[in-house]
Symmetry: C2
Subunit: 333 residues, 2 copies
DNA sequence: CTGAAAGCGCTTACAG
DNA sequence: CTGAAAGCGCTTACAG
């Protein structure tokens, strides 16, 4: 592979000049610039990234921490693919690559990988665990953006859906459909989406003057089986709910199954609203009414926040992005 | 950050010795080795990857080419997440990170990124397009493994499901259920899975002595809407099929919808077998009988092939991995 | 078993 | 606008 030295030789200039052509083009004479560019294209010169990183401490790579799955086996994100597309696209438009950080590597932990590779920033996808390496990272001053979970750090911010708002909209919708005995199947309280959606549910009840009955809150785990089990508990109540706001679509589908198995009908006997708007929501019969998240928005917002921090090391971290949600009404309400 | 020089100073040895401790430990005196390791841990020394890569030309990173989605908008993999988990885990166990290669970056194309970053290998996830940059890459001698698509190159191999075998099993299963008018909804002929599953279907018909009727082959696009449209065409045939092998689960779900909309029943009037065994297959009602692919197997097989090529630059590429499939019988047959 | 030295391919003050 | 030189943090023959 041609090196900068070789290119410089062929152009009859110094390596410094070649370097400037690529990094600071406006400072070099237009003619020599053109000459360098042309012969670079001709001989197939490509700057070596390791050498650049070594010299500048900028790797043009952003780490992605996802799935500490040795700890939470089977953990899945409901729309990881959409997030990755959004992230990758937005990042690459700005010249950054995404490095998927391994969890079980010999480097020990994520913060080590970040230092070893001179990563310019990192994005976490929350898996609901408290990873000390992640907290160290956020505290270390490396630009960090966390998805679905607040973080604090000198250069850390997060992007999250308007979970409470979405939950409120769901409950108001149910109320508008004439339902008054509205229960909820919540996500795990240790996750921000779980906690915030539950808070939104409660706020909506208060706004609507509906009583907050203890038994009407069943906690699930965001998975189908959890939703199924939670719904069964709800159906055994003396005052059976006539509607349920479920904090995740997978759980909602499990819940619907439980309703059907009990010989009841959705939405006639029990109306159901989910959260997420996963692909499946439109495919089940009847279609699932749900609170749609801006899936691609996670990636683009994260990339924008990251790049802002990287570009201006002195700036305060951007405020958290709160992505609006949209109620999508289908057949279950 | 502590550098090797600083660590060497603190240990009273040369940087060469420190380097050996990390790269060739058996060659250094046990006592000095221990000393180096201990003080490295104490002062938090971490070897800088860019410097290592610059010196050795090994980056310990593998590129992932996925989603040239500016060209095929909306393209999705039915089980990308499972593949990524398998890949990442297997690779990281061997000390490699995964770099997601951007498509729209300033580097132009994938083969450039590979050279710039000294990537040790690359894995492609087929999107059904012919990317010249990918062909160049495979031809260049960089270790390559392609998923779901044959490639040729001095150090290239691929991993693919036993598509024909799976298709045959599906048709034989339908035949065993007493069906004799068995149609198929095929994937795009330009993709290997599309072509091979169709070939398997035809082979099975021949084995069973069933006629191969022209109208019984409808081509879809692997997506729901395509399966729906294809099924409608099949239902309009004079000799309506009583069974259909659909080359992908999403299409199968679309096909089932078309059957239902036509006032017919699955499986009574038309039995359906899909391919993939996506999560959804177990969730629809009735459950979709389908040919399951070894989803995690893609990642682990790819990682193994890649590492084998990386570890032995002189070796011939490993033969293609053909992953066995499994028929999962549920309610649609 | 260990050290001195060259080299990997860039960038960036510093002079001019 | 351009060049000479130092430096980024490692690895690896080559001697000893």
């Amino acid at each position: 592979m041609a090196t900068i030295r070789e290119l410089a030789r062929q152009c009859g200039v110094s390596v410094a000049t070649v370097s400037r052509v690529f990094n600071n083009p406006e400072v070099v004479n237009p003619d020599t610039r053109k000459n360098v560019l042309d012969t670079a294209a001709r001989i197939g010169y490509l700057p070596n990234e390791s050498a650049r990183t070594l010299a500048t401490k900028k790797s043009h790579m952003v780490g992605l921490v996802w799935d500490t799955h040795h700890r939470r086996p089977g953990w899945r994100h409901p729309f990881l693919q959409e997030i990755l597309i959004g992230l990758k696209t937005a990042l690459s438009d700005r010249g950054y690559h995404l490095l998927m950080l391994a969890t079980s590597d010999g480097e020990g932990s994520h913060d080590r990988a970040v230092r070893r590779h001179d990563l310019d920033g990192v994005v976490f996808i929350d898996d609901g665990t408290e990873d000390p390496a992640l907290l160290r990272l956020a505290a270390s001053g490396v630009p960090c953006v966390s998805l679905d979970r607040p973080v604090t750090g000198p250069r850390a911010t997060h992007v999250i859906s308007d979970n409470a708002g979405g939950a409120r909209a769901a409950v108001h919708h149910l109320h508008g459909r004439g339902r008054r005995a509205i229960a909820t199947i919540a996500g795990p309280g240790r996750t921000a989406p779980g906690a915030e959606r539950l808070a939104g549910y409660r706020a909506a009840l208060a706004e609507l003057g509906l009583p907050a009955r203890d038994g009407y809150v069943a906690e699930g785990d965001f998975y189908l089986a959890g939703g199924h089990a939670a719904m069964r508990r709800l159906l055994e109540l003396d005052e059976r709910p006539d509607a349920v706001f479920v904090a995740g679509d997978e759980m909602a589908i499990g819940a619907i199954r439980a309703v059907t198995e009990a010989g009841l009908k959705v939405p006639e006997d029990v109306a159901v609203v989910g959260f997420d708007d996963i692909e499946l929501a439109a495919l089940v019969q009847p279609g699932l009414t749900t609170v749609a998240q801006d899936k691609a928005g996670f990636g683009t917002a994260a990339a924008a926040a990251l790049v802002a921090m990287i570009d201006d090391p002195a700036a305060a971290p951007p405020p958290p992005s709160v992505l609006p949600t949209t109620l999508v009404v289908r057949g279950t309400t």
